[in-house]
């Protein structure tokens, strides 16, 4: 965990006081709704379908057990006893009262948390790999760089009113688990010839209405220049990003309209003036931030615990959970564990206050009091001894957090959708549940193998449907809720955007359509090791489409029948 120093704490406290004043003025009628809106958004507060929604930042997904207990307390005291973990590693509360929000923020500040810049047209919470610092394939630990970016972006005076929201993601591993190719800025931490840290810089990626994979504008940015280069990118965007049309206001449109080459030139022209200025980072600052992170005191253990391997051999249920929800760790004898928030019947990413408290206890007993929120909306205990895995599994099962479905079809990523969100065209949660019920059989799920299924209730794409192997998008068809299905999207190193298979479907048709897609895959795969996404890439969309909508000759038959009936 990064531990605040006196100044970090003071700034968060001052923010609470500032927002208290803004809310007081709003409630007293001194601040109009239009003028209050951008201010409350920069504190994570939306006005939603039924009540305000408060989005709390979990910077780069890192959370202590004490903080998780505070989140549980907030859920109990000011909400309806639960919270929703989002695809941006944040937590959202759906039922707070507007007048209570300053008090909630004060409670968050007491555990070094906040809701600063979790919404609005500003630099948002920086996201990262949920295995940051522990992944065996890690090249650079991204956490300290994320914290540097958090500090730099917090109350940045020049960039509080950008053309549109701005999201930065950082990965430091060989496998990208932070979706850096679909962020406004994606940073891939790498090492130079002499082991020095630098960043490959991508810009202009994004989902939403115009999904685009980001472009590399700098192959190796030496670490001292990280913040000045970010300043240069943001300044070009702030000055020249479109403000006439909110759908064209993201940086991806500017990069596209200028061309990445021209955008890069403009950034470089700006950067020349900034790069050796006072904002250039120093080794002293990097080590100061590094030293403020607490690190687990690992024991010296064997690479493979005998107890663990025996339990795997003994219990099939445990082995199946371990196969999906236990992940390798860079320290011998340790593992990371995903606690699935994707149990059938529970909205994806939701956790009750009691579950949060219980997970905090698990983190204390099994994982050095620390955990992560993944952008796949699950919780991760990052530092568990292999010899404890069996005991942890038994406890997680009792809490309903041991569904062995990580990477499988029922690990659905979904936004809150039309049940809560006022932007949504359609509901997400019932669709997720219907699909989970259809594929509830674990053997079948395991047979289907790795598959990312993502649901967004509207084009804002909070459920990242563009990068789901199967993506489901809620659309509005003359006032009715319909769902457009795409396949072939992917996150990670080989990120790609899904292709729409055809006309959209009514809600109750969706599980059948998904089933048909799966049937097509199972029929065409050359072996169990060929994943759904591999088959889509090999054979294209057409066979899937034909199985879903009917083969051309069947369609002709249908047409004839309809003509005959007419």
């Amino acid at each position: 965990m990064y531990l605040y120093d006196e100044i970090d704490q003071r700034l968060v406290d001052e923010r609470v006081a500032q927002f208290r004043g803004q809310t007081r003025r709003f409630l007293a009628g001194e601040l109009s709704e239009d003028n209050y809106r951008p201010l409350r958004l920069q504190n994570g507060l939306y006005i939603q379908r039924f009540a305000p929604m408060l989005r709390v930042a979990i910077p780069y997904g890192l959370l202590s057990s004490r903080q998780l207990r505070a989140l549980a307390h907030i859920a109990r005291k000011w909400d309806r006893g639960y919270g929703h973990f989002s695809t941006r590693q944040n937590i959202q509360y759906n039922w707070p009262k507007l007048e209570d929000v300053p008090e909630i923020l004060a409670h968050l500040a007491s555990v070094q948390m906040h809701a600063i810049q979790t919404s609005g047209n500003c630099i948002r919470n920086t996201t990262s790999d949920h295995f940051a610092g522990i992944a065996p394939d890690e090249i650079v630990d991204p956490l300290l760089w994320c914290e540097l970016i958090r500090q730099w972006s917090t109350f940045h005076p020049e960039f509080a009113f950008l053309p549109r929201k701005f999201k930065i993601a950082v990965s430091g591993a060989e496998q990208d688990r932070a979706a850096i190719q679909v962020h406004d800025i994606g940073l891939q931490a790498v090492r130079g010839a002499n082991g020095e840290v630098g960043f490959r810089v991508l810009v202009g990626g994004g989902l939403g209405r115009t999904p685009i994979i980001g472009t590399v504008i700098r192959e190796f940015l030496p670490w001292p220049h990280l913040l000045t280069y970010l300043d240069a990118i943001l300044r070009v965007y702030n000055r020249f990003g479109r403000r006439d049309n909110k759908y064209k206001a993201r940086i991806k449109i500017l990069v596209k309209e200028l061309t990445p080459e021209e955008f890069r030139k403009q950034v470089d022209a700006e950067w020349v003036h900034l790069k050796d200025g006072p904002a250039k980072l120093t080794a002293a600052e990097v080590s100061r931030i590094d030293a403020r992170f607490t690190r687990p005191q690992y024991q010296q253990l064997d690479a493979l615990s005998v107890q663990y391997t025996q339990a795997l051999a003994r219990e099939r249920g445990f082995a199946s959970w371990a196969g999906r929800n236990v992940h390798p760790h860079k320290v011998p004898g340790y593992a990371a564990v995903t606690l699935s928030l994707k149990k059938t019947g529970v909205p994806p990413g939701d956790a009750t206050a009691d579950q949060m408290d219980a997970v905090a206890d698990l983190a204390d007993r099994y994982s050095f009091g620390e955990l992560r929120v993944s952008h796949e909306q699950n919780l991760v205990l990052s530092d568990v001894r292999q010899s404890d895995l069996h005991a942890l599994w038994l406890e997680a099962k009792l809490l309903g957090l041991a569904t062995p479905n990580i990477g499988l079809i029922t690990n659905i990523i979904a936004c809150p959708g039309g049940d809560f969100c006022s932007l949504a065209n359609a509901k997400s949660i019932p669709v997720a549940e219907a699909i989970q019920r259809r594929f509830d059989d674990l053997d079948y799920q395991h047979d289907i193998g790795e598959l990312d299924l993502n649901i967004s209730g509207c084009m804002n794409s909070c459920g990242h449907h563009h990068v789901g192997h199967i993506g489901i998008l809620g659309v509005d068809k003359q006032g009715a809720e319909f769902y457009q299905i795409s396949i072939g999207g992917a996150q990670g190193n080989a990120a790609s955007l899904g292709k729409v298979i055809g006309p959209s479907f009514a809600q109750d048709e969706v599980p059948d359509v998904i089933e048909k897609l799966i049937e097509t895959y199972l029929e065409h795969r050359d072996s169990e090791s060929e994943k759904f996404i591999d088959v889509v890439r090999r054979i294209g969309v057409t066979p899937f489409k034909e199985h879903v909508y009917g083969y051309p000759d069947q369609k002709r038959e249908n047409g004839k029948r309809q003509l005959a009936a007419a």
Binding site: E14, A17, N35, W152, T154, F155, P157, A160, A279
Partner: protein, 172 residues
Amino acid sequence: MATLIKNAKMANDSWLRLDWTADGSLPTVPATGDVLVPLRLWRGLADELLSRTTGKLGLWLESDEDPVLIADSLDAFSVIAVDFPQFTDGRGYSTARLLRERYGWKGELRAIGDIQRDQLYYLSRCGFDSFLLNDGLDVQEALTAFNDFSESYQTSVDQPVPLFRRREKEAA
């Protein structure tokens, strides 16, 4: 009347802001008094404006006008103002930093347009030192905005040395 705040205090405003008339024609420049003119007027009528004998000359920029366009003629002005058509249009923050940090403007830098209490802190950090505050706001309350935060991480006009370098100096 909008209220002028200058150096974090209420102040009298002697400046008349000239704008294009509704039909797009040039505004008439009064013979006397301090006038704040739009960029296009300056570019068209610089000689005439400079030949006025009474009254000072100021210039205001639209939110999309590049400050480089006046970088060579800063000496001609007593005030430079930047317009915020809506307070959510944040281009003026970059304009201000460029004027101060790149082009070396040392004189009064004024924020005009839709200026509210809750922008004052960021505006002042970016180099504005005067603000034409919207009508109907509690001016005394607005003045407290300059103290919303007692510290800041980044480099900026009011504090060019970022927090981390100041910490290092303290530690040394």
